[in-house]
Symmetry: C2
Subunit: 331 residues, 2 copies
């Protein structure tokens, strides 16, 4: 590998001159030509490590994700990437495969790589996280979860849960099964459910049962038949689209018509929910936009600009075919 010294020697100038050429400083025409030629010939590529060692202004932002194979993650990542590129930052992605220890580890590794800041697509925030954040002293932005100790961008899970609750009630459903996830996940497991519960309580006179399942389709497919047999709700309100998709499959497998005999709703707004038959009524979150906002916010943080400690991302209920209107008076 060639170094700047080689280029300098080969073109008969000083290293500083080559460096200036590289960084757009003032260099004479002839000198420029010579250096240009040598660089082309040798295929010289500057060593970023050496550059960063001096420059000291890192322009790379780390993003830590719990998994790569999720619509929410991909979309958020795309949003972050797009925006960061526009703001002249580079993104470094690190995957934890849903392993919290690895997550902590990755936070330290990224800090060691001198990222300008870390965007964490969070699932749970533990004390170890907070400790790491405090120790590191670099800008941290949580996406998807919130914590008072650090800046957060969240989807408005509570409101969204509340709205879907109201919606379901408005459609005449009174016997409702809510398929949630672990309460360790504050955003999905707690807030969505809380919002939903509030709507139900306001409505009064409902029979609701809460179930807990995982984020995996397969588990929903297994759980749902039993729920139907034992509780027989008119609707399944699922805390994620994946769960809803699993529920839909389970219903098909049991020969239950959706929405005529059973309604189903999801959360997320995954692309496939529109493609399937029946298409799924769900709460759409704007992951890509959230990613963009996350990127912008992170850059603000880096530049020590003002930023609200909690940023709320929007959502929208998408009415499709999977919910029956019990009040429509049809047969």
């Amino acid at each position: 590998m060639k170094t700047i010294a080689d280029i300098a020697r080969l073109s008969g100038v000083a290293k500083s001159t080559v460096s200036r050429y590289l960084n757009g400083g003032s260099v004479g025409e002839l000198t420029k030509k010579k250096i240009e030629r040598v660089i082309k010939e040798t295929g010289y590529i500057p060593n970023t490590f050496a550059q960063s060692l001096k420059a000291k202004k890192p322009n790379i932002i780390g993003t830590i994700v719990p998994r790569l194979d999720s619509y929410a993650t991909s979309q958020t990542l795309i949003g972050i990437d797009e925006q960061l590129r526009e703001l002249n930052y580079q993104m470094l992605i690190s995957n934890t495969s849903q392993d919290l220890d690895r997550e902590i580890e990755n936070i330290y590794t990224m800090a060691r790589q001198k990222v300008a800041g870390i965007i964490l697509l969070a699932t749970q925030i533990t004390d170890t996280h907070i400790e790491a954040f405090q120790q590191l002293q670099i800008p941290i932005l949580l996406v998807g979860q919130q914590h008072q100790a650090v800046y957060s961008l969240i989807h408005n899970d509570f409101e969204a849960g509340y709205d879907i609750g109201k919606y379901v009630i408005a459609k005449g459903h009174r016997k409702i099964a809510y398929l949630g996830v672990t309460e360790q996940d504050i955003a999905v497991g707690v807030n969505r459910k809380k919002g939903f519960t509030k709507a139900i309580q306001e409505a009064g006179d409902c029979e609701v049962k809460y179930y807990e399942t995982s984020f995996k389709m397969a588990e929903a497919i297994k759980r749902v038949p039993d729920i139907i047999d034992k509780f027989n709700p008119s609707i399944l309100v699922c805390a994620t689209d994946n769960i809803a998709l699993g529920a839909l499959k389970a219903a098909h497998l049991k020969g239950i018509n959706v929405p005529d005999h059973l309604s189903i709703t999801g959360f997320g707004g995954y692309e496939v929910t529109e493609i399937i038959h029946p298409s799924l009524t769900t709460v759409q979150f704007f992951y890509k936009e959230a990613g963009q906002v996350a990127a912008q916010s992170m850059v603000k943080l880096i530049n020590s600009e003002e930023l609200a400690p909690i940023i709320l991302s929007k959502y929208k209920i998408i009415e499709r075919e999977s919910v029956d209107n019990l009040l429509s008076g049809k047969l």
Copy 2:
């Protein structure tokens, strides 16, 4: 930010001693204790740039992907990531958003960051690519596409196309619409189709029409109705699962029963293809495994070990509900 010099000063030893402590060299018990304390107190984190500048043995491997929101990409990435971690390498992901210029640019950027090698989830290989590869002189591995100038890991598109062709024929289909993609994509656009065509030719006496669409579901949804109206095939052989999913949706929209009135097949083995109704008969590729093999191969390349220029990844036809057996004699 603290440096190794600070730690040395604070613990009253030389920088070299701290460095040795950090890298597991021989250090006296007392010295060790002192340094340990200071590091804990200060929250010192070594600067990787400075480390890399000396060490010279990069352990980070770059992966360039055309898009983040695809099943194939995520799965491959997961496989690469897992395997790399096991082999003590780190993965750096860079997304090009299907922009070839950006792809080239990213190749150079990664080289500048001194990655040990680059895994490229390729779509098209142009002369500019080859030029970059030659210029860079670092190990490159193509995944998904092949090119004689560089090592490649590909899915066996030709064979897979051939097999699905045989399968379709075996089910009695003779009036077939093949929905392919641009021939600029050698793997998907050319090889799958070629394999399929070979099977058809061997069967003889078939009416086949070839159509070209994009990788987007939405476009398939738009194209398919017209194909049905004008050609009315008994089966739609789609070059990707996304196209098949779009076709399925289009059929639903038209009120056409799949598979009774129209059969559909895909390529890919995406998770949703199993969940939807009817579930989709498709060719499953093993993306995650391919990613693992890619990671292993890359490390071999880095260590200058032997490697076959073309590695074939496996596939499997998954029979599900979307294909009707015209020969079964049912009504």
